[in-house]
Amino acid sequence: MKQQSPFFRCDGINRRDFLHAGLMTGLGLNMADLMRSRALASESKEPKPAKAKSCILIWLDGGPSHLETFDLKPDAPVEIRGEFKPIKTDVPGIEISEHLPRTARVMKHVALVRSLTHAFGNHNTGSHYLLTGNKPSPVIEYPSMGSIYAQQAGAGKVLPPYVAVPEGVTYSGSGFLPATYQPFSLGGDPSKPDFRVRNLNPPVSLSFERVERRREMQQFLDEVKRSTEERPIHTPVDTYYEQAYALLTSPESQAAFDLSKEPSNVREHYGRSRVGTGCLMARRMVEHGVGFVTVVDKGWDMHQQIFKNMPDAKFRGSGKLPALDQAYSGLIADLAERGLLDSTLVMLMGEFGRTPKINDRAGRDHWPRAGFVCLAGGGVRGGQVIGSTDPFGESPNEQPVTPEDLAASTLSLMGIQPDDAYQAPNGRPIQWVKGGSIIKGLS
């Protein structure tokens, strides 16, 4: 066993790691370096075939309460169990919240992990840990799983490999990887009737010839610098330009972003909420070959009035849970119906669970020690519960699952070796995920 470095920081980061990482983020790697890195990464091991061709992560930003959703404790004292009752699901023995009745009917597809656990109780650190699979550090930002996927998928497709709907959150980005692997954010609000992704098309007044001419002029300007004594500036922006150009000349890929192509019964099936529309958009993305889609649903940080806000918020059925219930179950059912579920991994989670003890504002605070993640499709064996928490929902009882384990499992399902290393130009490897193990029984 390799000796633990004595210079491991309390955040678990080895000093050398972030030195090299800093060097990568500080200057931006050029493409030649990236090619080298890719080559190095792929030589090491024969990659396992991907069970999941794509992944949809529904990110419940703010930290959803496990006790109101997927891990109810009806036998706990009243100051813990809260107001919601469990209901039966289509899988005997698995019970979830009464406010997730539609989800209860698709649980046969879902592996429900109830023992997700870590120790980072604020939003930023928790998000970093869950989205990247690496402990947060004050000095280095790790790449999110989506960006790792984007790096592995490489360039060559017109649609970006990693899309955020409607936009990413802190730490859903490329971290120490070049900005090339940031998610492409659709922006705006897809639930609005007139939603379009902005700037996908050249202004209508512009003829194709002019688009070509502009492009040619710009290439001339960038090229000509190479012949002068001032050297060209080679940056990740170049690849964005290629991609931007490819996008605007491909009507087929632009159609991927067009929700108006969906019949209204499908839109109703998902619900017209933000999260519902977001999930529908994610399905369209996946159909068009996007490999990683993060759907961000904000507003789960319920420090107060949790029993009111979860189901009802303003009026009956308008809260977070009913919208999520319809969106999530709608997505799972739709993917299954279209034969896409086997090749699409769907993850549902936030940065942590919430305090078992209800606070004096009828809310729950941050609780990283116990939380849930729902995994479905993409090779996951559904209809099972993995792990459990103690009777108060405070800590895992059986089979604790760390964010490292979760990331390692996700990446493996997608055919990426979690312990593969990203090679810095001077030879220092940084592993995607350090020390995670595949969740037992997941697939």
Binding site: G22, T180, M217, K225, E230, Y240
Partner: protein
């Protein structure tokens, strides 16, 4: 064994180490200074093993031996002393586990045949005494402090002495843990032998017990292609040249005149030089003192204050939503005034630290509205003012810096006497920060200050802190602050991350920040003077080149690092080149760099990049960039309208000619004339086109999308 006996004998007779306390034959090894370092060396108390917050296998040691007393309890008393077997020392659990005679998850850490094993055993035989608490290691002496190798494969030793509380020294090399910060350059063996692998410079981290230190190591690059010809007169260049010569590095040439002008305007004012300004300054720059004159001129312009107060607003997280629009404005205006009038940054920092009062009348008081948790506030002050990341010491002594748990909480206690009341930052008597170990209220104390007896004339700890900053903390502040400014001007901090100054994170150029700080102190820490000091160096005037920067080790500053324009600067630059001040006028109330409020809605700024002020932004924009930015510059209708309007207006001018137009565009966007190659290309394009307005619009588009425009180089 023989060696050990010999050593002991030498020690007993006092012939080897003067006055060393090392155990005589009958005496026990000393727990804190001999047993604990063995545990550190073996990795027992690291974060992944028993040093973890919850320990491992129900055995918890303090992280990297921060607390020898607790470790003694854990080993000798905890769990009914099951880890020690005083009757049969050989059977002690701690020995059997560490040597893996019985199952141990962490593997074999200490061999049975080793000297360390014997020392542990000896300690147990002696009854596992706690030892004299007066015997303490207070520091490390590393020699040599710097190793310069000759060739690859060179193997050179580092030796480490522990400085004891009684003033004696003791060689502890073999109990130190060594780690090369860049094993591409060199590896270090467990005995402190540095084995050089490749050209480069880095450092070795050293840990003995709970103490850390570092040594600088390097293997010079292959011989210089030509000796560095210039004789530097500038203090920054003098420091840099010494290092370049030492490690055989050549700097790149100086940038072209037009590049220097463009760079200075962008870095100092966040604005492109206008065509007229670029033309005006080009001939002046080649005259004696011309460059200085331009610097002086730019420092005196309002955009200089605008641009840098915007950066300050990013660093100080001035947020109209959190502070209120009015208070935010007052705070920002106060900062802007300090910059405009070239005030001392040390005084500015002091004001931020110690001002209480009304949000609207006592502007700097807004600094204290960042958070109401004194601990968070302490961490924030540590990072923004002192360049210290103290967060680790919230739960345990900082593993790689000098801050202890007590340092941290005493520092945090300074901010506990502050509250918000009726639009004011007020003093409140009740607040305190309990020490996590003792539960006692911490005593307010500036970071790392050991003696506070003479600074207690005021009962307000903020005043004490302010006074401390100006009288004792000024060097630290000056280094941290100039590192931050250096990064803005050179694209990379002398120390990275910029707010993580500590002895175990040494810069590649050792004396640079000290040199800057001392020259700056003579100028009373005035802001303009610092900027002037940095940009008048030759280093700042070098060619920008990614290739040169990537070809040599980072942090040597032998070429300028090209930097992408901040979204706000880019917006202003687009306005300038297209001559359309109406661009984004619906959201901006003036130029983008004068719009301090980052909450104002702007798709363009979000896409092109601006600081979100969740955390102090060191690099330009934390939002935006990427594909969306490219798509914006490619396609955005807002931008298209501007291009069309600009082309149409230009054509209305009676003496318009496409060739003059392209030259003018070059001046505006690149601060230079087109080369003959370029002119040839544009002549062809112009001759082949009838629709002049479209042509002009497309030319402008191409320029706005070119790298030479989008980058500061």
């Amino acid at each position: 064994m023989n060696m050990v006996w010999t050593l002991r004998w030498l020690i007993i007779t006092g012939t080897l180490f003067n006055g060393i306390h090392l155990s005589s034959d009958n005496a026990s090894p000393h727990f804190a200074t001999e047993i604990v370092p063995i545990l550190t060396k073996a990795g027992c108390n690291s974060g992944a093993c028993h040093g973890a917050a919850t320990g491992k296998g129900s055995f918890k040691l303090s992280l990297f031996a921060e607390n020898a007393v607790a470790d003694f309890e854990a080993i000798s008393r905890d769990r009914f002393s099951r880890r020690l077997n005083l009757d049969h020392p050989e059977n002690s659990l701690i020995l059997k586990k560490a040597s893996k005679q019985i199952e141990h998850e962490g593997g074999r850490r200490i061999r049975r045949s080793s000297r360390d094993f014997e020392t542990l055993k000896k300690w147990i035989i002696a009854g596992a005494p706690k030892g004299d608490p007066g015997i303490q290691c207070v520091g490390l002496e590393v020699s040599p402090e710097e190793i310069k190798a000759q060739k690859k494969g060179d193997t050179l030793p580092i030796s480490v002495k522990a400085l004891m509380a009684d003033g004696t020294k003791k060689d502890v090399t073999r109990w130190c843990v060594f780690e090369s910060m860049d094993d591409g350059v060199a590896d270090v063996t467990g005995d402190g032998e540095v084995v050089f692998q490749n050209h480069g410079v880095t450092s070795v981290m050293i840990r003995f017990g709970a103490l850390t230190s570092s040594a600088r190591i390097g293997l010079p690059y292959p011989k210089l292609s030509h000796p560095n010809p210039f004789i530097p007169s500038h203090p920054v260049d003098q420091v840099l040249l010494k290092e370049w010569n030492k490690w055989n590095l050549n700097p790149v040439d100086e940038a072209k005149l037009h590049s220097k002008i463009r760079r200075l305007f962008l870095d100092l004012t966040g604005q492109l030089p206008s065509a007229d300004e670029a033309k005006h300054w080009a001939p002046i720059l080649i005259t004696e003192g011309g460059y200085h004159n331009l610097v002086k001129h730019l420092l005196s312009t309002p955009p200089f204050a605008d641009y840098w107060s915007l950066k300050f607003a990013d660093w100080l997280l001035i947020d109209s939503k959190k502070l209120g629009k009015e208070a935010g404005e007052v705070y920002y205006e106060w900062i802007r005034n300090q910059i405009l009038h070239n005030r001392s940054m040390l005084s500015l920092a002091r004001s931020l630290l110690e001002t209480r009062g009304s949000f609207l009348e006592d502007a700097p008081s807004n600094f204290h509205r960042k958070t109401n948790d004194p601990r968070d506030m302490a961490e924030y002050v540590g990072q923004t003012i002192l360049g210290a990341r103290i967060a680790c010491a919230r739960c345990h002594n900082h593993p790689v810096d000098r801050w202890t748990l007590t340092d941290y909480h005493d520092f945090a206690a300074i901010f506990s006497k502050t509250g918000l009341e009726n639009g004011k930052v007020v003093y409140k008597d009740l607040g305190e920060v309990p020490h996590p170990k003792t539960g006692q209220a911490s005593v307010p104390r500036p970071l790392g200050v050991t003696d506070i007896s003479n600074s207690t004339e005021t009962s307000d700890p903020l005043k004490t802190l302010g006074h401390w900053l100006e009288t004792q903390g000024q060097d630290r502040f000056a280094r941290a602050f100039s590192n931050r400014i250096w990064k803005q001007l050179f694209g990379r901090g002398v120390v990275e991350p910029v707010d993580d100054l500590r002895s175990t994170n040494p810069p590649l150029i050792p004396n640079l920040l000290d040199t800057i700080a001392s020259h700056w102190s003579v100028r009373n820490y005035r802001f303009h003077d610092l900027i002037e000091l940095l940009v008048t160096s030759r280093a700042y005037q070098q060619l920008a080149s990614f290739e040169a920067v990537e070809g040599s080790p980072k942090g040597f500053f032998n070429a300028m690092v090209p930097r992408e324009l901040d979204g706000r600067v880019l917006v202003d630059a687009i306005r300038e080149v297209t001559d359309q001040s109406g661009f984004l006028n619906d959201t901006l109330s003036g130029s983008a760099i004068t719009s301090w409020d980052h909450r104002m809605e702007s798709f363009a700024l979000d896409t092109l990049g601006r600081c979100q002020r969740d955390a102090p932004c060191e690099d330009s924009g934390t939002s935006g960039g990427g594909l969306s930015k490219s798509l914006y510059l490619f396609n955005d209708p807002e931008l298209q309208t501007v291009l069309d309007a600009s082309a149409a207006e230009t054509l209305q001018s009676p003496d318009w000619h496409p060739r003059t137009s392209i030259k003018e565009l070059y001046w505006k966007a690149y601060s230079r004339l087109p080369t003959s190659d370029e002119m040839h290309y544009w002549n062809q394009a112009i001759d082949g086109s009838d629709a002049k307005q479209e042509l002009l619009s497309d030319m402008m588009w191409a320029i706005l999308n070119s790298r030479e425009f989008i980058w500061n180089h």
